[in-house]
C-alpha cells in the first residue's frame, strides 16, 4: 500500500496557480486509494505541461512522443492487461496531434484511462491555440482569431464508442480524484476531460469563466446514450457539465481475444509448435 507521498516525485515546475497541481495531486490520491504502488501501474505521459508530470509522479511509465501516448498505452495494455494503464496528456496531444489514436482507441474500448488536461492552449510552447479553443480565439499563431470550430471531445468520444466519459474541473480536487478512481475501475476506455485554466496564457477560459459556465450534473442517467449525447453537446453552447456523463459496459479489447483469457501476453508460455507453420508453404 503506497501513500500519496510514495507517488510524489520531484517538485513540480508548473506555474503557481496552474491546474496541473490539482490534477497531479488528485491522480496520486486516486492511485493511493486504489491500493496501487508506483511499480504496478503504467502511466503514459504525453508531451506538454501535463506530461511533465513524469518527473513529479513516481510510477512505471513512458514519457512518450507528442501525441502518441494513447498508441503506446494501447500496446502496453495488450501486452500486459493485468496492469492498469493511465494516460496523462493535454488537449493538444489528445485531440490534435494524437486525434486519430484517440478516436480509434475509443472504437476498440481498450481498457485504459485518459486524463486529459483541457486548457485550450499549448502551455509549454507558450500559449498557442489548441484544437479545443473557441472560434475567434487569438494567440500568437492565430493573431486574427481561430477560424476552425473546436473539437468537441466529449461528443467525439461518445460517438466513437468510449464507454466511460467524465468531465472534471481542476478547481475541485476531491471530485477529480473520485472521477479518476471511477474511470480506472471502469473496464474499457475511460475519458476524464479536466477543464483546467492556464493562468499564464489563457485569458479567456479562466477560473472565473469555468465558475460561471460549469455546473455539477444532477439527476443524470449516465447509462442513457441519448441523455449523454445531450450533455456531451452542451460545450457547444459554452455549458460545461461536471461529473460522469456516460458509463456503459462493453467487452474490452483484450476481453475479445480468446488467447488472452488464461494468461496475459507477457506471461503466456512460448508457442512451442512454430515449426508446424512451415506446412503452410509446402
Amino acid at each position: 500500500m503506497a501513500t500519496v507521498q510514495d507517488f510524489s516525485g520531484y517538485t513540480p515546475t508548473w506555474c503557481p496557480g496552474c491546474g496541473n497541481w490539482g490534477i497531479g495531486r488528485a491522480l496520486m490520491m486516486s492511485l493511493s486509494e486504489q491500493g496501487l504502488t508506483p511499480a504496478n501501474v503504467n502511466v503514459m505521459f504525453d508531451i506538454g505541461c501535463s506530461g511533465n508530470m513524469n518527473d513529479f509522479l513516481n510510477a512505471s511509465s513512458m514519457h512518450t512522443l507528442h501525441g502518441r501516448s494513447i498508441a503506446n498505452a494501447v500496446g502496453c495494455k495488450i501486452a500486459n492487461h493485468e496492469m492498469p494503464v493511465v494516460m496523462v496528456g493535454g488537449d493538444g496531444a489528445t485531440y490534435g496531434e494524437g486525434g486519430n489514436h484517440f478516436l480509434h482507441a475509443c472504437r476498440g474500448n481498450h481498457d485504459i484511462t485518459l486524463i486529459v488536461h483541457d486548457n485550450g492552449v499549448y502551455g509549454l510552447t507558450k500559449g498557442q491555440t489548441s484544437p479545443v479553443a473557441h472560434q475567434g480565439y487569438k494567440s500568437k499563431t492565430t493573431p486574427d482569431g481561430v477560424i476552425d470550430r473546436p473539437v468537441y471531445a466529449l461528443l467525439l468520444a461518445l460517438t466513437q464508442g468510449a464507454t466511460f466519459i467524465a468531465q472534471g474541473f481542476s478547481g475541485n480536487l476531491p471530485q477529480m480524484a473520485q472521477l479518476i478512481t471511477a474511470a480506472m475501475k471502469h473496464r474499457g476506455i475511460a475519458l476524464v476531460n479536466i477543464l483546467q485554466p492556464c493562468v499564464s496564457f489563457n485569458k479567456v477560459n479562466t477560473y472565473g469563466y469555468y465558475f460561471e459556465k460549469s455546473y455539477q450534473l444532477k439527476d443524470h442517467d449516465p447509462t442513457n446514450f441519448e441523455a449523454a449525447l445531450q450533455k456531451c453537446a452542451e460545450p457547444m453552447q459554452e455549458k460545461f457539465p461536471i461529473g460522469i456523463l456516460y458509463q456503459v459496459e462493453r467487452p474490452t479489447y483484450t476481453d475479445q481475444i480468446a488467447h488472452l483469457q488464461e494468461h496475459s501476453l507477457l506471461k503466456a508460455p512460448k508457442y512451442a509448435a512454430a515449426t508446424s507453420l512451415i506446412k503452410w508453404f509446402e
Binding site: 504502488t37 498508441a71 501476453l265 509446402e282
Partner: protein, 606 residues
C-alpha cells in the same frame, strides 16, 4: 562447382482476376514436390481487375535464385500475353493458347488448347480457365497428375468436395488434351525425382512471418502497405495458434507506437511496412533509441518517392533506413538476400533488438518479399528451433532507486519488465539521468550519448558479421559487391560464368542453358561479396575485403549506389564500375553478366 543443371522457365499471363498468382504458386509447389528447385517472379500492376499479370517459374534440378530471359513455355490466357512476351521465345519453346481467342505467329511450337470450349463442356466458371492452363502445362512438363490432384484438394479443402471436383476436372481436361494431342512435345521437366527432400516454397515475407513466430514475437501491429502486407495477413491468420496479438490499427504512427508500448511492457514486438509507412514511423525509432527499448521493423521496399510504383521493386530506402530518426542513436539494419537468410535474420533481429535495446530494421524489397525459393524444410526447422537471446532483460531489481540507464562497460544496462518488482522506471523520450528522470545537465547528457554510442562498439565486437564471399577472391578477375535482394541474380551469374569456364560444360549444354551459342575468347572469374549486416559497418572488419588490387563492381537496385556510399564512408573505397537499376524491375542475371563483361572491357582498355 559442378555444371549447373538445365533451367526451364514457365510463364503465364492474363488480365488480373483470372487467378494467375494462384496458378503460378501451384506450379511452383508442384515442381518442388516433384523434387525440383524453383525460383518464381511475378509482375502485376497496382489494381484488382484487368491490367496484365504475369507469373514465371524457373525450374531446375539445382538451386535456382533468379528467372532467365528465355521463356520455355508461355501460357497465354489472352493475346496481350503473347504480344508482350513473344520476344523471349525460342524455337524450342512452347506456347499454350486458346485457338478460338487468337492465333500467334511465332517460331515456337504452338499448343492449341480450346480452353473456353472445355470450360463450357464442364460448366465451369471463367476463373477456372487457370486450372485448364495449369493442367495443360503440367502435362507438357511431364508431371505426375496425382500430385496436381493432391494440391487442388489441399487448396480447396475449405470450399468443399464439389469445388475440388470441378477444379480437378478442369485441370484434368487441360492435362488430357495435351497428353492426347501433343505427346511428342512433352519434355521430362517435372518427372518426379525419387525420394525428393522435403522443401517448402518460401518467399521473403513468408520467411519473416515464420521468423517472427519462431523468435517468440508476441505483438505485431501494422497498417497494410504493399509489399509488406502478407506478413500481417499470415500472422493474423496464425494468431489463434501462436498466441500472438496481431493488430491492423489506425495508421503507421499508431502501429509503431503500439509495438513500442508492448515492448516496454516486456514482450517482443514488431511492425512492418514499406517506404511511405516507414516515413511515418521514424520519430518513434528515435524514441526507441533514446528510451533504449527493443523494436523490430520490417521494411519491404518498393520504388518511391511518395506512392511511387507500389507493386514493383527497388533497393531505394537503404540510406533512409540507416538515417531514419532524428538525433543520434544506435540502430542496426539487416538485409537478407533470400528467404532462408530472411528467416535467420528475422530471428536475429529480435535477439539484437533485445541485446542492444534499440531499433533493428530488417530490409526486404518487393522481389525478395514475393518471389519464392525452394527451401529445405530441415534447414527451416533447425533455424526455427534456435533459442532466443534476450540480453539484459530482468524481471526483478532490488536496486533503489533502480538505475535503468546505469553506466556500464558495454553501454547496455539491465532492462526491467514493469510490474513484477518494487522497482520502476520511466522510458523517457527526454534525455535522462541514469535513474530515468529528465535531465538537461551537460555532463549527464554527454554520459548518456556516449553510453548509447558504446552499444555499437559492443555490437561490432560481438555480433557484427562481415560479407559472405561467393567464388574465389584470390583468382577472381572482378569482385562484385552488393547487399540484400540482389544476391539471387549475382549468384546465378556466378554459376553461369563458372560454367562458361568449365571445360566439362559442353557447348551444347551451354547453349541450352543460355539460349544462345557459347561465346569464344577469354572468359573470366568473378567473386561476390554479399552483405547482410549493412549498418553499422565495422570498418576494421570489412576494409580487407576492399584492399585487393582488382577491379570491383557495385551491384544495386537503385539509382545512386547507396550501399556504395556506405562502403565509402566506412572504408574510403569506391569503384567506377556500377550496375545500378531503378526501373522498378529486379536486376536480372543477364544484366549482371553484361555488366561484368563491360567492367572487364573498360579495365582492359585502360
Amino acid at each position: 562447382m559442378a555444371i549447373p543443371a538445365l533451367q526451364f522457365l514457365w510463364k503465364i499471363g492474363a488480365p488480373a482476376g483470372l487467378g494467375v498468382m494462384t496458378t503460378g504458386l501451384t506450379l511452383s509447389k508442384l515442381a518442388t514436390r516433384s523434387g525440383y528447385h524453383i525460383y518464381d517472379y511475378t509482375e502485376y500492376p497496382s489494381l484488382i481487375k484487368g491490367g496484365h499479370n504475369t507469373y514465371e517459374v524457373n525450374i531446375s534440378k539445382d538451386p535456382v535464385s533468379m528467372v532467365k530471359n528465355e521463356v520455355d513455355c508461355l501460357v497465354c490466357f489472352d493475346e496481350l500475353t503473347f504480344n508482350l512476351h513473344q520476344t523471349r521465345l525460342t524455337p524450342a519453346s512452347t506456347v499454350v493458347f486458346d485457338p478460338h481467342t487468337f492465333q500467334p505467329e511465332t517460331v515456337a511450337q504452338k499448343i492449341e488448347v480450346p480452353m473456353q470450349e472445355l470450360l463450357n463442356e464442364l460448366k465451369a466458371e471463367k476463373v477456372m480457365v487457370n486450372m485448364i492452363g495449369l493442367g495443360a502445362s503440367f502435362a507438357l512438363l511431364g508431371g505426375d497428375f496425382s500430385l496436381l490432384v493432391e494440391l487442388i484438394t489441399e487448396q480447396f479443402k475449405r470450399k468443399g468436395d464439389e469445388v475440388i471436383a470441378l477444379n480437378t476436372n478442369c485441370a484434368k481436361a487441360g492435362f488430357e488434351h495435351v497428353t492426347k494431342n501433343y505427346q511428342s512435345v512433352v519434355r521430362p521437366i517435372l518427372t518426379p525425382e525419387p525420394d525428393p527432400e522435403a522443401r517448402s516454397v518460401l518467399a521473403g515475407n513468408d520467411a519473416f512471418a515464420l521468423g517472427a513466430v519462431a523468435a517468440d514475437c508476441r505483438f505485431y501491429a501494422a497498417y497494410p502497405m504493399s509489399p509488406s502486407s502478407s506478413v500481417l495477413e499470415f500472422l493474423a491468420e496464425w494468431q489463434k495458434h501462436t498466441g500472438m496479438v496481431v493488430r491492423h490499427a489506425e495508421d503507421e504512427i499508431g502501429v509503431v507506437n503500439e509495438a513500442l508500448g508492448a515492448s516496454f511492457a516486456g514482450v517482443r514486438a514488431a511492425t512492418g511496412t514499406s517506404g511511405g509507412g516507414f516515413a511515418l514511423m521514424v520519430e518513434t525509432l528515435s524514441y526507441a533509441g533514446v528510451a533504449e527499448l527493443p523494436l523490430v521493423v520490417f521494411l519491404a521496399q518498393r520504388p518511391g518517392p511518395a506512392t511511387g510504383m507500389p507493386t514493383w521493386t527497388e533497393q531505394g530506402d537503404l540510406l533512409f533506413a540507416v538515417h531514419a530518426g532524428h538525433g543520434e542513436f544506435p540502430k542496426i539494419v539487416l538485409a537478407p538476400g533470400d528467404p532462408e537468410e530472411m528467416l535467420d535474420l528475422a530471428m536475429r533481429a529480435f535477439d539484437l533488438a533485445d541485446i542492444y535495446q534499440t531499433p533493428v530494421i530488417v530490409l526486404s524489397d518487393k522481389v525478395l518479399s514475393e518471389s519464392h525459393y525452394s527451401v529445405s524444410v530441415k534447414t527451416l526447422e533447425s533455424l526455427m528451433q534456435r533459442t532466443s537471446k534476450r540480453g539484459k532483460l530482468i524481471a526483478v531489481s532490488d536496486q533503489h532507486p533502480y538505475l535503468r540507464y546505469a553506466m556500464t562497460d558495454d553501454g547496455i544496462s539491465p532492462r526491467l519488465i514493469p510490474g513484477q518488482s518494487p522497482a520502476w522506471y520511466q522510458a523517457n523520450s527526454y534525455e535522462h539521468k541514469p535513474d530515468s528522470h529528465t535531465t538537461e545537465d551537460a555532463f549527464e547528457r554527454m554520459q548518456q550519448v556516449e553510453k548509447r554510442a558504446k552499444k555499437m562498439q559492443t555490437y561490432f565486437t560481438n555480433d557484427f558479421t562481415g560479407p559472405s564471399v561467393y567464388g574465389d577472391i584470390a583468382s577472381a578477375d572482378l569482385i562484385l559487391y552488393g547487399w540484400g535482394g540482389t544476391k539471387g541474380a549475382v549468384l546465378e551469374a556466378l554459376r553461369q560464368i563458372e560454367c562458361t569456364e568449365n571445360a566439362a560444360c559442353s557447348d551444347h549444354r551451354w547453349h541450352a542453358l543460355h539460349g544462345k551459342p557459347r561465346p569464344g575468347g577469354k572468359h573470366c572469374n568473378i567473386a561476390f561479396l554479399h552483405f547482410t549486416h549493412v549498418y553499422p559497418l565495422d570498418s576494421e572488419k570489412i576494409k580487407s575485403y576492399f584492399s585487393y588490387q582488382k577491379p570491383y563492381l557495385l551491384v544495386e537496385n537503385n539509382s545512386t549506389g547507396q550501399f556504395g556510399q556506405l562502403i565509402k564512408q566506412a572504408t574510403g573505397f569506391e569503384t567506377r564500375h556500377q550496375l545500378l537499376k531503378y526501373d522498378g524491375r529486379p536486376i536480372f542475371t543477364e544484366e549482371v553478366m553484361t555488366a561484368v563483361e563491360k567492367a572487364l572491357r573498360t579495365e582492359a582498355e585502360c
